[in-house]
């Protein structure tokens, strides 16, 4: 009985507030927009019994999905989200790997402090960390002022409100997610392997490429997915740092819902976004499982 209650309480909570809402999105994505409250049809009329249910099912269609494929705004937004997330992930890897590597090579008594310094920004408000870059990247911002004072540029660079600013924002906010898994694999690496490689005539650089880098592959893959997956659906970063020509699907969905009040299309956008995300999520899970098996 007690076991039943233990399972039932969180189970019912998640059913009611995760699965059911998701099914509602799926259903509304198959509905049509109308000028009513709520602004879509058909509505399920339970009082009409079975006949009402059949009629309700009949009225659902894939019109919104067809619409999404016809209007090039949407598929461009999906592609550009994927592209921005991909490029940002590669930059995050290039920035994060040397940091993780340096941490793993630091004296053991320093490592907990360094680790805390990486985690600390994660506890700080995401919104504030993105906002901090607005003052730096603006035309009259600190970065342009510095570059002008140093004589590197003659006129301020337009960085804020561009795709580059969005990428900087993603790299900055998601960097800890890249560093932590790479650090975890590098830290438990067997140092004697490197000594063996050097004894066998490897230079330090080739020992790194032939031994260290391949051994940290699991951490690299995990870190890349941890950045790539959430970056695709990002809303805050493109809306604060991006310009009107920076298309990202999270922002499109938001505007479709709040500005255009087109709930059925917003729901269809959400369903396709999820369908796209399933691929990297499954690959990520597979990598995690492989790592666990290798670890035991």
């Amino acid at each position: 009985m007690r076991r039943f209650a233990l399972i039932a309480v969180p189970y019912l909570w998640l059913l009611a507030l995760f699965l059911v809402p998701f099914l509602i999105v799926l259903k509304i994505s198959l509905s049509d927009i109308t000028l009513s409250i709520p602004p879509y049809s058909p509505k399920l009329d339970l009082s009409a019994g079975w006949a009402g249910f059949v009629e309700f099912i009949r009225a659902l269609d894939f019109e919104n999905y067809v619409f999404l494929t016809q209007d090039d705004l949407y598929w461009k937004a999906y592609l550009s989200s994927l592209w921005i997330a991909f490029v940002s992930t590669l930059i995050t890897l290039a920035v994060g790997y040397p940091i993780a590597y340096g941490m793993a090579r630091a004296a053991p008594e320093w490592r907990p402090t360094l680790l805390m310094l990486v985690i600390l920004p994660f506890w700080t408000s995401f919104l504030i960390r993105v906002y901090a870059w607005m003052g730096i990247l603006a035309n009259e911002g600190l970065l342009n002022q510095t570059l002008l004072a140093l004589g590197i540029i003659d006129s301020p660079l337009q960085i804020l409100n561009t795709t580059a600013a969005v990428q900087i924002g993603i790299v900055y906010t998601y960097l800890p997610f890249m560093i932590l898994p790479i650090y975890a694999t590098l830290e438990k690496m067997d140092e004697s392997l490197l000594e063996a490689a050097e004894d066998l005539g490897c230079s330090r650089l080739s020992a790194f490429w032939l031994v260290t880098f391949p051994l940290s592959r699991g951490g690299i893959i995990a870190g890349c997915f941890l950045v790539f997956i959430p970056a695709i659906g990002e809303f805050v970063i493109p809306s604060l740092l991006g310009g009107s020509d920076t298309l990202m699907i999270g922002k499109v969905l938001w505007e479709e819902f709040f500005s255009n009040r087109d709930w059925p299309v917003a729901s269809a956008v959400a369903i396709i976004l999820l369908a796209i995300l399933i691929i990297p999520i499954v690959l990520f899970q597979r990598n995690e499982q492989k790592e666990r098996e290798a670890g035991t």
Binding site: A106, V118, R129, Y131, G250, W263
Partner: protein, 273 residues
């Protein structure tokens, strides 16, 4: 031990500068006397004063704090239950769906979580306000709590609990007297994680709230949409200081607890030997 090279030192220096400089700059400029956020006009605490007199910000902070306390507390209870189910309950009907529902919210884009919950609340005719935000935040943060707690539970020696049962404890007593004290650090960090996730959330709160309950992130977002504002710099500085003090205090506390446990273990060893 391998040599810590110049390259390592350089990458750590630049890496941490990149991570911290933006926040340091934000903090410095929050003390700027000028209305123009990019021109330095001397030291001033003017924006802090204006912020503390701004009733709208104070109201939003109070809403946010209440939402965070309620949602993280409920999420900790539900998340710990869910973790126990995942690690201990063995096979039951619908287990795959259950673990799916625990992990899916972790990777779900916030815009979709927010949209789906809003459509649910409208569907069942629930008025949007503090209650709906608490429900929404509880749902996604309980999943984070359950991941944190279940990783601790998985390494827990069940023999201890069995011993308590043999000595006459009821299953609930065994959980309260044996399991809970051992997993307490994970439960506490789960609560802290849920609390900060709730404090921080803009997207899901924007979807699920009504006009009566504007949270601090929503207020910040609408203020900075049009550009940098000195008041928000002051507010950010307060929030950053709050988090930094909390995290450093927590890490010192766990360090001290570890040292004490180490000492106890050594004393016990001496006593035994």
């Amino acid at each position: 031990m391998r040599r810590f090279s110049l390259f390592n030192a350089t990458s750590l220096t630049f890496g941490f500068a990149f991570l911290y400089l933006p926040m340091v700059i934000l903090i410095i400029y929050s003390f700027n006397a000028s209305q123009l956020v990019t021109v330095w006009a001397g030291f001033s605490t003017r924006w802090y004063g204006e912020l503390l007199r701004d009733q709208e910000f104070l109201d939003a902070a109070w809403v946010t704090l209440r939402v965070a306390v309620f949602s993280s507390t409920i999420a900790t209870v539900l998340g710990t239950m869910a973790a126990t189910v995942i690690v201990r309950a063995g096979r039951f009907k619908g287990r795959t769906l259950f673990s799916g529902m625990i992990y899916a919210p972790l990777v779900m884009p916030e815009v979709i979580t927010g949209l789906s919950l809003l459509l649910l609340f409208i569907g069942i005719g629930l008025d949007r306000g503090i209650l709906t935000v608490v429900l929404a935040h509880t749902t996604f943060s309980m999943c984070y709590v359950s991941v944190v707690v279940s990783s601790r539970l998985a390494t827990f020696d069940t023999a201890l609990e069995e011993a308590a049962l043999d000595l006459g404890c009821s299953p609930f007593e065994a959980f309260r007297l044996v399991t809970l004290p051992i997993i307490a650090p994970a439960v506490i960090s789960g609560w802290l994680l849920a609390f900060t996730l709730s404090l921080d959330d803009l997207v899901i709160a924007s979807f699920t709230t009504g006009p009566s309950a504007t949270t601090l992130p929503i207020k910040i977002f609408s203020a900075v949409r049009l550009g940098v504002s000195p008041q928000i710099n002051a507010l950010s500085t307060i929030l950053i200081a709050f988090v930094a003090v909390g995290v450093i205090a927590a890490s010192l506390a766990t360090k001290r607890a570890a040292v004490r446990a180490d000492k106890d273990a050594r004393a016990a060893e001496r006593a035994a030997g």
